[in-house]
Symmetry: D2
Subunit: 262 residues, 4 copies
């Protein structure tokens, strides 16, 4: 009998480049050390052309892959407020933002790896096949090996896969899951976890067993997960990112940009 | 003695796609019939992602080439107010806007032909080598046969040519020229011409003799001109565009997108 | 037996001042002749400080009263797209906009008469007591005889009246009503009427009998109505406004600013 | 011979409320302890309606007077970039912003004390009588005892005084002065001072002797000064604010809101 040795590979992604003009936000220079893919804001919900270029440079010098992080045109709400767009609006807003970032990537000599919608655009697309379809249509337009990051086991994943898109399924190590596999709303107490040991255990389970713990104490099947989302908007979040990255490496899981193993 | 037959070729360019959301501006559907290149607004001074795509489609179906028309981030001032940007700001604002439009061109299956800065960005760059340099740097970044439209005989032309950029030198048939070859400020009475016969004569002189009439009644050497700029923001402007296009064709001048003969 | 003679009084309101910078929209100079109250956009969904002052002057010189027309911070969507704001956001966005307009009214020597929310803010508030409450709270803050315009028979009317606010109940002569008294969504064919004779008859019924025709052919009780909303965004709309105003005056109904009889 | 005892009174003002949505900037909660007047951003260059109300509350609970801090419509540039506005644009942009803040002050039950233009609007107005005139015109419109804060000894001061406006002349304890009394540009090394002892000495000289040290080592006559501007955008700035406030109080100078002694 042969000795089977499975090598687990995972990507860690984080939102970055969300500063705007004189406004600084996020601990990009810290968190960049613990991730393999950066979701770079594109100027609608956050970010500006200068910040975008600086963030691309930061990622490049840390061997971190770059993705576009398009959001709603709502800087005042940081893209976190639901907006009812038509399908055509959503599609073109995404293409515009991804195209702008891709041009800056070209200029810095790196290839754009992925697209991950931001905030309310992501949350609405997870549940709304029509909005997800608009995003999928936009990503397909780029006619290259652009990966769409989707919530593992969501309607958005289904829409993207049916359209033949290359997807990366992501899970959240510091977020509570509902029994049906969706994320517990941030407005519910306990939706966001902060115990680093607990988070470390959860992420290993997600990556090795494709399972999350749900709020009712049972386990939820997530299916295969290719990326773990971490946050970097405050020093505490950076600590969690570091915990996750360390826990994965200790377990022998290889942390690499999603494009390298998808 | 041989009979020498020179074929004159010229491009006619016009700003387009400057509507924004519910706000409609310009007579794009009329003026498109009289031009060969469309300068499409990119969302900073005017235009939005939907309007951009619709304008690309309009141009494509009329065999009109598409260029990017980046402007200052000043929708309220329609990009016509001077702003003091740093060189890095200017460069990245241009790359962002051109990249966004290029992505929409890709999606519609056409190639982006040129870049022409808008309003105050253009006027300031004509006089300011540093700002012109920022724009040139951005256009070079696109690593393709992207043409920069410059005012014939300006500092901006010089900066672009020294950087090895492919340029199209443009002249204005409906604008008065100063003796030194710059345009008379719009604030000066008589800066904008409206007599269609006079405009028709002027454009022939510009294209065939590389000369403009200056406000002091003398002629100004413009050097070779590859594009004539027309306006399409009101029915009167459309009439002038039509006059120019008709006058050129009557004289046997071929009106074609700049990329076809540059 | 005494001869009872009832004098009917009604206000006609219309959205105005929705131009923005170089972008002109609406037929304000035409429609102003047929109305008694102008809802002036306040810079969030439309309008800008210059347009606001010019619109106040236009209203003043036509003896038309001025109200604030606050909207969502969504110029790109003209305030017509639903946005999920917190109650505090909604309240402060309204106070900000109304305060800005009031200052310009002060400067032009006229008193601000009313507040009427715009587009999606209005439509959402009609159904959502919490959002309506935020608007009511803001209007109360102005500590003067500021009137809130509400859809007749709506939840918004109820919230405003319970808070002790002075309200003007409005009806739409050119919109179809559902059997329950709400407006038929604009997305439904037939939601917006265009037959001027039909509109003339409807408005008389609204004002004299407090009734509207519903889409199922029956009549809906609207309750007392103090203002009729007309539109002025295109020449056809101006014709309808003129029809309504003429029909009312022919029937002996006095058209006056709401503050004069409320 | 009588013993003459002069009581010096001075105001200390600081820019505040410059956060925007999710973007936090400034150390408002620290610096508020060391000042007597807050210049509250009004949503154009920084600030938003919620932040404005929160800042008014913060000022009120610290017995600090509130002023409006209008800026250019350039959030991306934080209002620090020169823009060429027409006089009418400038006037109405100021009225709009001051009106919005005044409404929030009304709602919180406090009176608006002053107006101080921000960043490039301030710097341009200091040198440009036409722009200063537009601001003055706007402040006069408010028909109340609104004070305009001006750079001591500037053209802006002259324009305001000639128009009969109540002015507060301000000086900068942590900025280097040119021999002609203007501020050394921030782009010049040494323009911003950081030695707290030196700053403490300078502010006493400004308040008690109406003099500043110029960069050539000589003293410049500032004329009477009623307010000292301090910064609060970083912990170091807060330390300077504290130094200035402490130095003044040690010397027996009373630190009070400008309206109390003007």
């Amino acid at each position: 009998m042969r000795d089977v040795h499975v090598v687990f590979q995972i990507d860690i992604n984080c939102d970055m480049g969300e500063s705007f003009g004189a406004y600084l936000i996020g601990c990009d220079h810290e968190v960049i050390k613990h991730i393999s893919s950066a979701n770079v804001a594109c100027g609608f919900h956050a970010g500006d052309p200068l910040v975008m270029r600086q963030t691309i440079r930061l990622a490049k010098s840390n061997n971190v892959a770059v993705g576009a992080h398009p959001g709603f045109p709502d800087l005042l709400g940081f893209g976190r407020r639901n907006m009812t767009l038509t399908r055509e609006e959503a599609r073109n807003y995404v293409t515009y933002q991804v195209g702008a970032l891709r041009a800056l990537c070209d200029s810095e000599g790196i290839q754009l790896q992925h697209v991950k919608p931001h905030g309310a655009l992501y949350n609405m697309a997870v549940e709304d096949p029509d909005l997800a379809g608009a995003i999928v249509e936009s990503v397909k337009d780029f006619r290259q090996e652009l990966i769409l990051v989707v919530l593992a086991n969501s309607k958005m994943q289904k829409v993207a896969e049916e359209a033949g898109l290359k997807v990366a399924r992501e899970a959240f190590a510091d977020r509570a899951y509902n029994p049906n596999g969706t994320l517990v709303s941030r407005r519910v107490p306990g939706a966001v976890l902060s115990d680093v040991n607990q988070i470390g255990d959860r992420v290993i389970k997600m990556v090795k067993e494709s399972k999350a713990f749900s709020v009712d104490g049972k386990t939820v099947e997530l299916g295969r997960v290719e990326s773990i989302c971490v946050h970097g908007d405050n020093p505490e979040a950076v600590k969690i990112a570091s915990t996750i990255s360390t826990a994965l490496m200790k377990e022998g899981v290889q942390v690499r940009p999603m494009a390298e193993f998808l």
